[in-house]
């Protein structure tokens, strides 16, 4: 009961004529979906920011604090709550935006409100056509995701000449597809067919039947989240693993493996932004911290949120000020020990240059512990040159 009383609406109070003073706390915001279809991602993103904030505790002598904002996976709600947090608590640092649509909207709003926003969302436009001074991105967009999965797989399997793609029909899906088609052309791969599907699709049997009729060597899944899980599960049920190699270019990592199970994932190739098995000092540190605090391994949502928050905190400390205008120049070009090794923020488009990984699912018998679902086959940094991203900062 006491907590309920204490949780009286922050929005509901007598509006004072004086604006709330900046105070002595550095306020962060974590705008992520906590209810609705992406609640799982939001839950871990919250924990990631919590971990970083508690790790530092203070920056420049001022205590660090953050507020969780439930965007409900709706861009309009995300925009409103971001703006409200800026106004009510003078929050200037936001790390979140799981979905591209909400991330894009928040990027605009952050700029309007002189706040900084860093995200793990995938849409190319975030550090491309819609880039702005306030927005930074940690994840690898479509070009790199395809370069670091399709290309190594082609090199590993030179005889696999027939590829079939399943693509979600929207800008992001097209981004992945076009990047893949470019490599196909370059390497003389026969693109035997593509099935577009809507974002609401659950039933992939029709598309898979189509794919099987084209007799591909490789089935390339360009969808993500629950759709990629459904597509993979159904592809395996159709026996496609027997004579086709399956590559899921944009996998979610640990949480997806957990929901699919080792048997399904065995022998399947996955592209990942992050894996808790990465051998880098930054990641080893995170894994240890997460194990200590939460007793489980970090997944992508948690890791992404953690490193994004950490990047901002480190920049604030380095800049000697929490004024966004002074922090932006520090962020641009900043090199740091990231989760995938040494990472740096490209100044021209605010994209973090980091590795993208090609994983292969292991047999259940080969798993050393309950999270050891996959081995890292290869990794690397591939990014479009700034001139081609369409970003003009």
């Amino acid at each position: 009961m006491a907590t309920l009383a204490a949780a009286a609406p922050a929005s509901l109070s007598l509006r004072s004529a004086l604006a709330q003073s900046a105070g002595e706390t550095i306020q962060f915001g974590c705008p992520v979906p906590m209810s609705g279809a992406f609640a799982a991602n939001g839950k871990y993103a919250d924990l990631g920011m919590k971990l970083a904030i508690e790790q530092y505790g203070k920056a420049l002598g001022k205590p660090l604090a953050y507020t969780l904002l439930d965007t409900e996976a709706k861009p309009a709600t995300a925009v409103r709550k971001l703006q409200e947090l800026v106004q009510q608590k003078n929050a200037r640092y936001f790390a979140g935006g799981i979905l591209s649509s909400e991330a894009l909207a928040m990027a605009k709003e952050a700029q309007k409100n002189n706040a900084l926003f860093i995200t793990t969302a995938g849409a190319d436009e975030i550090t491309g056509a819609d880039c702005n001074k306030s927005t930074f991105r940690w994840s690898v967009p479509t070009f790199g995701a395809i370069e670091r999965t399709v290309r190594p797989l082609i090199e590993q399997m030179p005889k696999a000449k027939r590829w079939y793609t399943i693509t979600p029909q929207y800008v992001f899906g097209d981004g992945l597809l076009n990047a893949a088609k470019n490599i196909f052309k370059e390497k003389g791969i026969e693109h035997v067919g593509n099935s577009y599907h809507s974002l609401a699709e659950k039933e992939f049997s029709g598309y898979l039947t189509n794919a099987m009729a084209a007799k591909p060597d490789v089935l390339l899944l360009l969808n993500f989240g629950s759709q990629s899980s459904d597509a993979l599960r159904q592809a395996v049920s159709f026996g496609m693993k027997q004579n086709t190699t399956i590559l899921m270019a944009w996998a979610s990592g640990l949480e997806q493996f957990e929901s699919l199970g080792a048997d399904l994932c065995e022998g399947v190739y996955f592209g990942a932004q992050y894996w808790h098995g990465i051998d880098s000092p930054g990641n080893k540190d995170l894994v240890q911290r997460t194990q200590q605090t939460f007793k489980f391994n970090p997944n992508y949502s948690l890791a992404g949120s953690y490193i994004c928050t950490k990047i901002f905190i480190d920049a604030i400390i380095k800049a000697g000020s929490d004024d966004p205008a002074k922090v932006i120049p520090v962020l641009e070009g900043m090199k740091f020990t990231g989760l995938t090794g040494d990472e740096e923020i490209r100044p021209e488009d605010h994209q973090v240059l980091k590795n993208y990984y090609l994983l292969k699912g292991k047999a259940k018998s080969a798993m050393k512990d309950k999270d050891d679902y996959a081995d890292i086959l290869s990794f690397g940094k591939s990014f479009l040159p700034v001139a081609q991203t369409g970003c003009k900062l």
């Binding site: 309920l4 949780a7 609406p9 922050a10 929005s11 509901l12 109070s13 007598l14 509006r15 906590m34 209810s35 609705g36 609640a39 939001g42 839950k43 439930d70 409900e72 709706k74 861009p75 309009a76 925009v79 409103r80 703006q83 409200e84 106004q87 009510q88 591209s100 649509s101 894009l104 909207a105 605009k108 709003e109 309007k112 849409a123 436009e125 819609d130 029909q169 929207y170 800008v171 992001f172 809507s198 974002l199």
Partner: protein
Amino acid sequence: MNASRRAYPLANLFANPGWWLALAVVLILPLTLNSGTLATEVLVYALAVLGCNLLLGYTGLLSFGQGIFFGMGSYTLGILMTRAGLGLPLSVLLALVAGALTAALVGWFAIRQRGTYFVMLTLAFAQMFYFLAYSLPDWTGGDNGLLNIPRPPLSLFGMTLMPLDSPWRFYTLVAVCFLVVFWLLQRVTASVFGRTLLAIRENETRASAVGYDTRRFKLAAFALSGAVTGLAGAFHALMTGIAPLSNIEYHTSEMILVMTVIGGTGNLFASVLGAAFYVLMSDWLSTLWPRWLLLLGLLLIGVSLFMHKGLWGLLQRGWTALRRGRAAAAAPEGAPEGER
């Protein structure tokens, strides 16, 4: 009495408290809320709920398609302001027209059926428009939505009237428009047209037998509802600077309908209550618990079990109980010996 009402339309306002209550809400929101954007969102959805109530409460049409018109309003304003470079007042007006036209189109098909079939038709159309919006990214931005919708200062006929940059300044604009629309809707619902709609709601066969072209009236109700909802969508796009796909999603239609029923379908002010309650409650609950939808679900169950006249009915009951209490307290002194 009626003659004087017609001669002095202002007298109507005093007789019917709805508009005054709406004004009260418009004035109370800035005093009790910290966030101008939240207050604006209350009024935006109040407009949308008024549109839905016009169909549900006044014409007896349960429409699952309000999200279509809301989204069309947002998209129209977004496209006109970012592509055609049109000014704010003109874009808002055209968004309103777009909402009306879309509603007329949907209505023309939907009113061919009645009852549950009508409901299902609006649901099917809602899904179709969603897929249309999703599949035409060149127009709607697809899943990303339309971005960078500006909010220039309000200017009419070349004169700059007021800047709209701060949330509370924009709220003022929305509040004024809201009160005007509310007043207009009051006139409409009190008019012959409005009473005909009520007659259609009560018994469509009888209304038709008496000689009314019920289809034309239902279509007009749709167009009016679409106009108001399109206006709401336009303001929403201006408020957030974006026209997202979620505005035209099925969930928006469902949400607007839920707000309408919660508020009560008896009168126009009930719609304001429903919108205010839902928007403020959701905002507050979402800060308490990630599983706040559970609380919302329980609330909906509670409302449908115990408050079938909605919040307005609750308010009415409270008001009546209060007056009865006061009368009972006054009676013992006033009642003469003989009356017993």
